[in-house]
């Protein structure tokens, strides 16, 4: 899968990197869907001997390949929400010097990044690599509900039903971009949806 180059953006928006094997007391991998590929590209037997992989297949199942890497511990969850308490626990119990590797969609990286920072893991020990879908996790600024996997702009809030446009303003605490009513000044006049990066 070719890498997506995000266009230059505003200063609240995270910039994703590329996973690299580092020395550490342990290695926690959190990935979804195509994120598995980023792990496979850098995994070494040494790393895997102390690795805990948490994987959310999300319609692109690479679990067999990941298991074949031989991680010390492997877990698969049906969604980030389902895996989140386990993730918080694992990160909270992690020893000093742990390395955290996040790969896949912005939604999973953003939420896991927040969980890692909350767990007190220094930001210098957290790496990221975007793979797969460029869909965004959006928060409706009006009702505060989150809509996952938003690929088009504008879109309809899955909670309150307002027509929302997609902003680049990003909150690390919420691991979400901000969505704002698009037809407030001209109710009913909603432009046709396009891909976010179209």
């Amino acid at each position: 899968m070719t890498k997506f180059n995000f266009p230059p953006s505003i200063t609240s928006r995270p910039v994703w990197g590329e996973l690299q094997a580092r020395a550490g007391s342990g290695h926690v991998f959190i990935a979804d869907a195509h994120g598995a590929g980023a792990i496979m590209d850098m995994a070494t037997p040494d790393l895997m001997a102390k690795a805990h992989i948490i994987y959310i297949p999300k319609g692109h199942d690479m679990s067999a390949e990941l298991k074949a890497l031989g991680p010390a511990q492997y877990y698969e969850g049906p969604s980030y929400a389902a895996a989140s308490s386990r993730i918080a626990h694992v990160l909270g119990q992690a020893k000093m010097g742990v390395q955290v590797y996040l790969a896949g969609t912005e939604s999973v990286m953003g939420q896991a990044m927040h969980a890692a920072v909350q767990a007190g893991i220094p930001s210098g020990s957290i790496q990221t690599e975007h793979r797969g879908s460029t869909a965004r996790r959006m928060q409706c600024v009006h009702c505060k509900g989150f809509t996952e996997d938003v690929e088009t702009d504008p879109f309809v809030c899955s909670h309150c039903g307002l027509n929302l446009f997609v902003r680049d303003h990003y909150s690390r605490r919420l691991a979400a971009y901000q969505a704002v009513c698009i037809d407030a000044e001209d109710p009913g006049n909603v432009p046709e949806s396009k891909g976010i990066y179209e």
């Binding site: 505003i10 609240s12 600024v141 009006h142 909150s171 690390r172 605490r173 407030a184 000044e185």
Partner: protein, 355 residues
């Protein structure tokens, strides 16, 4: 002077009005006939008697009604006031700063009696007389930040200073120019300023952050910012934008003078003693176009500023669609004469409109 407090609203029937006194002391934000972002900060060491710069925390005729409006906003959306756990001490610092300043600057309105940690706070305009233990949250009806800012005009952000940056970790934000505390809380200086056009590229935020991080206790700073608001609506929040946005389309050539308001923020910066946090009060003043036009210098200048403002700024400030109608109105008050330097009205020296 004794202040006559107005009984007025900032929503629904919009009965908000400025007296002649309030118009003349309006913090007109343009010191020359054009405007661009700049590092426009200075020491906050008082100002001309009667001006909004004179006292540390200005109290004016809108005080009681603004506090009523804040209470309504908080009833509907408690997330407008938030404080991350490590910011409670900064909340006490702010409570102390405001209580001490107001009781010293307005002894006829506010009184503070301190006996060790036992404090008595009297707020006559709001009819409050509370005794509490300083630094003991259980003795106040709200946390310290919420308690004191329910009694103080303007929004308040509290910034934690660490890792060579400022972090917006607490605030009371109900009179904001279209940004959300609930979304921005926890962000650093560059993150929450991300949506602002041009200023990043101009290096303004780097310089601004440096200036703010060097603010010392007892040496506060200040700056003005401005935007445009249709109707005297204090709560122009993103949260409620789907409700108030439509009001921007209600302007007509007949009503624009009364409905269109210049919205000015007097922003001040205080270093807090115990927490080393920075307090950032953002005080909002509204004035209708027609009231501003009673000052000939402001009429001439506002027309020129709005006319020549870069498109990026007019778009960001949300009035690009209404700019042509604004200019039709404002041009009536611009006779082309030169204007004196500085923000003050200069009514005695500036000529009346020659049109």
């Amino acid at each position: 002077m004794t202040i006559q407090f107005n009984d007025e609203t900032f929503r629904d029937d919009y009965s908000f009005r400025n007296s002649d006194w309030a118009i003349k002391r309006f913090p007109f934000p343009f010191h020359e006939d054009s405007y661009m972002y700049s590092m426009n900060a200075e020491q906050h060491r008082g100002g001309p008697a009667g001006s909004v710069f004179e006292k540390r925390f200005d109290v004016d005729e809108h005080y009681i009604s603004e506090m009523r409006d804040r209470a309504i906003v908080l009833d509907q959306d408690p997330l407008r006031c938030q404080s991350l756990p490590h910011m409670t001490l900064a909340g006490w610092d702010l409570l102390e700063l405001i209580m001490v300043s107001k009781s010293e600057d307005y002894p006829d309105l506010f009184e503070l009696y301190r006996d060790g940690a036992q404090w008595r706070w009297v707020n006559k305009p709001l009819g409050i007389d509370d005794t509490f233990t300083f630094m003991d949250e259980t003795t106040l009806p709200y946390g310290p930040l919420e308690y004191i800012t329910r009694q103080s005009q303007g929004d308040f952000a509290l910034l934690d200073q660490r890792e060579n940056n400022l972090w917006m970790d607490a605030g009371m934000i109900t009179t904001q120019a279209d940004w959300s505390l609930d979304f921005d809380i926890g962000m650093n200086f560059f993150e929450w300023h991300a949506p602002v056009p041009l200023a990043h590229e101009m290096g303004i935020f780097k310089r601004a952050l440096k200036f703010l991080m060097n603010i010392q206790q007892g040496a506060p700073g200040r700056r003005l910012n401005w935007t445009m608001t249709v109707n005297p609506l204090l709560d122009t929040s993103p949260e409620n934008y789907h409700k108030w946005g439509i009001q921007k389309t209600s302007l007509t050539p007949e009503n624009i003078g009364a409905k269109q308001h210049v919205r000015v923020e007097l922003q001040t910066f205080y270093r807090l003693p115990r927490s080393n946090a920075l307090a950032f009060p953002i005080r909002c003043y509204l004035c209708s176009f027609q009231d501003l036009m009673t000052v000939p210098k402001w009429g001439r200048r506002l027309h020129r500023v709005v006319r020549d403002l870069p498109v990026e700024l007019a778009t960001y400030k949300g009035f690009i669609d209404n700019r042509p109608m604004m200019l039709d109105y404002l041009s009536q008050f611009d006779d082309g004469l030169p204007t004196s330097f500085g923000v003050f009205p200069d009514l005695d020296s500036e000529p009346p409109l020659q049109k």
